[in-house]
């Protein structure tokens, strides 16, 4: 920086690019300079709780200054090129090239090309091997780091697991190495022994003739054979401030993390496995955080975040306590979409200021056979009772979320989605005429299932895009009631996501080709181009079907096998087999399924 005022006024919403937000941290420059890089738009990144948490977590250290870096939109990229301004950190305006460590968060596979774009806008070589001793170290974390291999060549190291667990250790080590004048390579060797750290350049992979992995091992001495996920047994840290953006973000609110992990064990859900065991925050602590953060931000909304919020063992008490703070201050409390449990209906009865229009329900599958296969643990009666209760308490729009392309799915299962929606419409007409104040609307949304690493479906073949589209046509042609509307996700985006999600190191070439051909903001439908990706795979000699649409053998070495996520491969395989036979596994609170995670839990407690 700094761009002139005149240049900034040439772009849309220039406040995204100038910093100066309430609670932004400014320090002097004689520190470890960390750039928290969010590979998507400012408005998306600023709504992300992980960014807020890690920003204040790192800035609580005297010796570290953490700043933010976002992906500039195309108009801003144009202005930066014209004015010869490299990508800079928002707080200092310094080029990212001048920082010590850049940490990208990988929330979604379709942001991978944005990572490359940000490196290049910062004047950095894309591949770790091509960056020099004076360039910053570039690392990545977040859920997609649990299969780091497709992006392995671009990063110096990955951080796998809870940020609060060993980030301090890494920064301490960095300070120590810097003071001793050690090289980047020396630092990377030192941190291989810290939980959660994976340095791809120290490992090599061999492949069999059929293209599957033959071996994976360290190529330098005295480093671990694999990587153990970084883990915090108790969630004690929560920031006392949030950054408050000047422009409207996707969410402008205080978000409270109720719990990490989930006790449900839905077999398609990666978050349900990689964040185990369920760890809850206490009601008193959460209430205090809400109070602090409201005074620190001035937000008008508090929202509750968890994989399944109503499963928090103190949910009812928490809602009561939060309402004593929010109601007098005219702050709204928003409940997450959740299972339609008794706890949920109790909560909405208490909150007077919940807008009772639309409610989202996620049966995920229309047929009982499929719901059992994915271990949703939800009967049709549960769903219809829940919807009826919702109608009785004043809702008149229900959104039903389904996944298309689940393993072993048949056309009957697809049609069952529509049948379930029809029954939900019928449930509305169980209300008396007087109760039916507004016309009912039921929306059916189908997402295309993408099998992910560290789930029981990591062995499953993804449905190919043509078949997804056939499923979508089938749903459309089966809808006869005018109260039902249908929405669906793009099958082609899901296919690319499917390739990247379970890819190996060879994919880095395809990602680079796609980026060189102009891929950017792939998660935004207006920027995504399927053919560009297909050409990129071709140029890199990659068969996308090998990664997305192939069922893996039980004994195949998977690209992420070297990571000890906690849950064992044997448990996941057992769950895969149970899925095939539509056998349910009870939730963790009912009966421990021996998933194996407690072996890495460091004396922590499973709240399931």
């Amino acid at each position: 920086m700094h761009l002139s005022n005149e240049a900034l006024l040439r772009v849309e919403k220039p406040a995204r690019y100038v910093g100066g937000e309430v609670n932004a941290v400014i320090k002097d420059k004689n520190r470890i300079r960390f750039g928290f890089c969010f590979p998507d738009a400012y408005e998306v990144g600023m709504s992300h709780l992980g960014l807020q948490m890690l920003y204040f977590f790192m800035n609580r250290r005297e010796d570290t200054w953490c700043e933010r870096v976002f992906m500039p939109f195309l108009d801003m990229q144009q202005v930066m090129r014209e004015e010869n301004i490299p990508l800079y950190a928002l707080e200092s305006g310094d080029p990212i090239k001048d920082l010590d460590i850049l940490g990208f968060t990988l929330q979604y596979e379709m942001c991978y090309t944005n990572v490359l774009a940000m490196l290049e806008l910062g004047g950095l070589a894309l591949r770790a091997a091509d960056r020099g001793e004076d360039d910053p170290l570039v690392c990545a974390g977040g859920p997609c780091a649990t299969n780091p291999e497709p992006m392995a060549d671009f990063f110096d190291f990955f951080y796998i697991g809870d940020g609060e667990a060993t980030l301090d250790e890494i920064l301490d080590m960095y300070a120590k190495c810097k003071a001793r004048g050690l090289s980047k390579e020396d630092f990377l060797e030192e941190i291989t022994w810290i939980d959660g750290i994976y340095v791809p350049r120290f490992y090599d992979v061999g492949y069999k003739k059929d293209g599957t992995i033959d071996w994976f091992y360290p190529i330098i001495g005295d480093i671990p054979n694999g990587v153990k996920r970084a883990f915090v047994p108790e969630l004690t840290y929560f920031p006392d401030k949030f950054l408050v953006p000047l422009v409207e973000a996707v969410h402008n609110r205080v978000t409270l993390e109720l719990a990490r992990g989930c006790m449900r064990g839905c077999r398609f859900c990666q978050a349900g496995y990689i964040y185990r065991p369920l760890r809850e925050r206490g009601v008193d602590a959460l209430t205090a955080h809400a109070e602090n953060l409201l005074s620190a931000t001035g937000h008008e909304e508090v929202s509750l975040l968890a994989l399944s919020a109503c499963d928090h063992s103190g949910f009812g008490t928490l809602v009561d306590k939060l309402l004593t703070i929010t109601e007098p201050a005219r702050v709204s409390l928003s409940l997450p979409s959740t299972r339609l449990d008794a706890a949920f209906f109790d909560a909405i009865k208490k909150t007077q200021r919940v807008r009772k229009s639309s409610l989202t329900v996620a049966p995920e599958a229309g047929s009982q056979r499929m719901r059992d296969a994915i271990n949703k643990n939800l009967t049709e009666a549960d769903i219809l009772d829940g919807c009826l209760q919702a109608f009785e308490s004043g809702f008149h729009k229900i959104k039903l979320y389904f996944m298309a392309g689940l393993p072993w799915e048949e056309m009957d299962d697809i049609r069952a989605n529509v049948q379930l929606a029809e029954k939900v419409v019928d449930a509305y007409y169980k209300l008396t005429y007087e109760q039916r104040t507004k016309p009912v609307s039921v929306s059916v949304s189908t997402a295309c299932f993408v099998p992910k690493a560290f789930t029981p479906f990591q062995w499953a073949a993804q449905v190919n895009p043509m078949d997804f589209e056939a499923d979508q046509r089938e749903v459309k042609s089966n809808i006869r009631k005018k109260q039902i509307v249908y929405r669906y996700h793009d099958a082609k985006t899901a296919h690319i996501e499917g390739v990247l999600a379970r890819g190996d190191r060879r994919l880095s070439h395809a990602i680079e080709h796609a980026y060189r051909a102009g891929a950017m903001f792939d998660g935004w439908s207006e920027h995504f181009r399927y053919d560009r990706w297909l050409r990129a795979f071709e140029s890199a000699g990659i068969d996308p079907a090998f990664y997305a649409n192939r069922e893996r053998a039980e004994d195949e070495v998977l690209p992420w096998d070297f990571i000890d996520i906690g849950v064992t491969k044997a448990f996941l395989l057992e769950e895969y087999k149970r899925a095939k036979n539509s056998v349910l596994t009870p939730n963790c609170r009912e009966k421990c399924a021996n998933c194996g995670v407690m072996a890495i839990a460091d004396g922590g407690k499973c709240h399931g």
Partner: protein, 210 residues
């Protein structure tokens, strides 16, 4: 309920946000400061806050005004100090006083704009200056001269007094372009003061009483 008027100025990063964003940012500051603000009735209560005149994106303001309703009386000297500690970078609070009657938006009649430059076109020379102006029903020739109240220059600093408010409004950027006969960007302009009109006199809003 107590109605107060706030005088402030806006600078720095705040020049890059539009009116709706500024409204939210200002409301957040009031909440952080825990001022006893009054809320509207209804399903979605909001703070009873209104501004004299939206500031165009890119511009900064000298003396700017907002009206706020408080639930009860507070020490207004202290309130200025408290608000300042919770203000976003670039927002300076000057003073707060009790007010009655019409709100700032409806009394604002003219604004002073300042910018650096050299006057090329003598806009005050005649009683008529016609420009094509975009309206809802297409481009229309409009005489802007009646909306220009004064133009002065001292040492390269130009001050324009233009119609501004919910009644008549003349765009300062358009006017400055004609005056200087060059491209002008909003960031070059400071909206220095807002005035109410009493007969032929223009009274700065902090001196004006209904």
């Amino acid at each position: 309920m107590v109605k107060v008027r706030i005088q402030f100025s806006k600078d720095g990063a705040l020049r890059f946000i539009g009116h709706l964003d500024f409204l939210r940012v200002f409301g957040q500051m009031l909440r952080r400061a825990e001022l006893p603000v009054a809320f509207s009735q209804g399903f979605n209560p909001h703070i009873l806050l209104s501004f004299a005149l939206p500031l165009p994106l890119g511009m900064v303001s000298g003396n700017d005004y907002a009206d706020l309703t408080l639930a009860h009386q507070v020490n207004l000297l202290d309130a200025v100090k408290v608000l300042q500690t919770h203000a976003p970078q670039g927002l300076t609070l000057h003073k707060i006083w009790e007010t009655e009657g019409r709100n700032t938006a409806s009394v604002t009649a003219t604004a002073d704009y300042t910018l650096a430059g050299e006057i090329v076109t003598d806009l005050l020379a005649s009683q008529e200056y016609i420009i094509p102006k975009k309206t809802k029903s297409g481009v229309k020739d409009t005489n802007i001269r009646p909306d220009i109240f004064d133009i002065t220059e001292t040492k390269g600093q130009i001050t324009l007094r233009l119609a501004a408010g919910s009644g008549r409004f003349l765009n300062p950027v358009t006017t400055a372009k004609i005056l200087l006969n060059r491209e002008v960007s909003a960031h070059e302009i400071t909206r220095a003061e807002l005035y109410a009109r009493v007969g032929e006199a223009f009274i700065p809003l902090d001196k004006f009483t209904n």
